[in-house]
């Protein structure tokens, strides 16, 4: 069963290290691809910020923390069953 770990209160530095480990980075505010381009939430088309990011399986899906993106992800991947 997949564990859901809330990173809402995770310190920024740790979030940045985690992103790097997963092949991304951050300028301290936004989540960036390795080439420096801002990561966009594929469902609502907003730039994802460090303080509102979700990192979900299905390769690596980085989304903004909002119900519309989460519902869209659940519909597409049928994931996050805990």
């Amino acid at each position: 069963m997949m564990e859901l770990l809330s990173i809402k209160d995770m310190p920024k530095e740790l979030k940045m290290k985690l992103l790097e480990e997963l092949g991304y980075k951050s300028d301290g505010e936004f989540v960036l691809h390795e080439n420096g381009k801002k990561v966009k939430d594929e469902y609502v088309d907003v730039d994802v910020t460090l303080d509102r990011m979700l990192i979900l399986p299905g390769s690596t899906i980085i989304l903004d923390d909002n119900p519309l993106s989460v519902a869209s992800y659940l519909e597409e991947y049928d994931g996050l069953q805990n």
Partner: protein, 234 residues
């Protein structure tokens, strides 16, 4: 140690090895993620909110009839908006409204509002009461959502009675929808009542059903097409 505790300990410097420990922790988290054993979520309330609404009987009913993704997702978000409104979560509510509007434009937001206010649920129950077949119900429901800005009319304070009657009658005559919903609230209810009375005299091929919600001070008039088509001339 659970990851939450490890993270707290690592950030408080309460672990042996300091930086090395933190790097090891990050590597373990990343490995678990790649193995699909862990997902990193934000506020747990977001996921709970979505999952909770999906368990509602009213969502089960709606989702049976709304399968087009562009209609289904805003409808689903209508339940979330209702919950956020009930809980007084104004900031989250406005943020979600903005995102629905950005993604699905005004039409999507109006669909979400129709569900948020419970209007769509009432409409569906009304259709079900008429013992429609599922395929016909689906067609009727998706039609009204696809053309929401034409088939759902909100009677406003500044509206002139005559103009609204004309708009409704013209749409019934020209577009021949399977249903229309006329919504009014508070001081606009007497005006809506007069409008419906006039439309009723003209649109003889439609049946009318009124529902009043005293709690919210709202009135809904559902205009539903009978088997026969064509409106009588004015």
């Amino acid at each position: 140690m659970a990851f939450e505790k490890e993270i707290t300990a690592a950030t408080a410097g309460a672990t042996k090895g300091g930086l090395e420990y933190t790097e090891g922790l990050v590597k373990r988290l990343a490995k678990k993620f790649r193995d699909r054993d862990i997902a990193f979520i934000g506020d747990p309330k977001t996921i709970d909110l979505v999952k909770e609404q999906r368990k509602l009987e009213s969502w089960t009913l709606l989702s049976k009839f709304i399968q087009t993704p562009e209609l289904r997702r805003p409808a689903e978000m209508g339940f979330v908006l209702r919950k956020l409104e009930k809980e007084g979560e104004e900031e989250r509510l406005q943020d979600l409204r903005r995102k629905i509007q950005n993604k699905y434009k005004s039409k999507g937001l109006h669909i979400a509002e129709l569900v948020q206010g419970g209007i769509l649920g009432r409409y569906i129950n009304l259709l079900i009461d008429q013992s429609e077949e599922d395929s016909i119900l689906k067609e009727r429901i998706e039609e009204i959502l696809n053309e929401i800005d034409r088939y759902v009319i909100f009677v406003k304070f500044d509206d002139k009675e005559k103009d609204v009657v004309e708009i409704i009658v013209n749409r019934l005559k020209v577009l021949v929808p399977k249903g229309m919903i006329i919504f009014s609230k508070g001081g606009c209810i007497p005006k809506a009542s007069k409008i419906i009375k006039k439309v009723k005299k003209i649109a003889i091929n439609y049946s009318f059903e009124k529902q009043v919600n005293d709690d919210s001070g709202s009135r809904y008039d559902f205009i539903i097409k009978k088997d026969e088509i064509v409106c009588e001339e004015k």
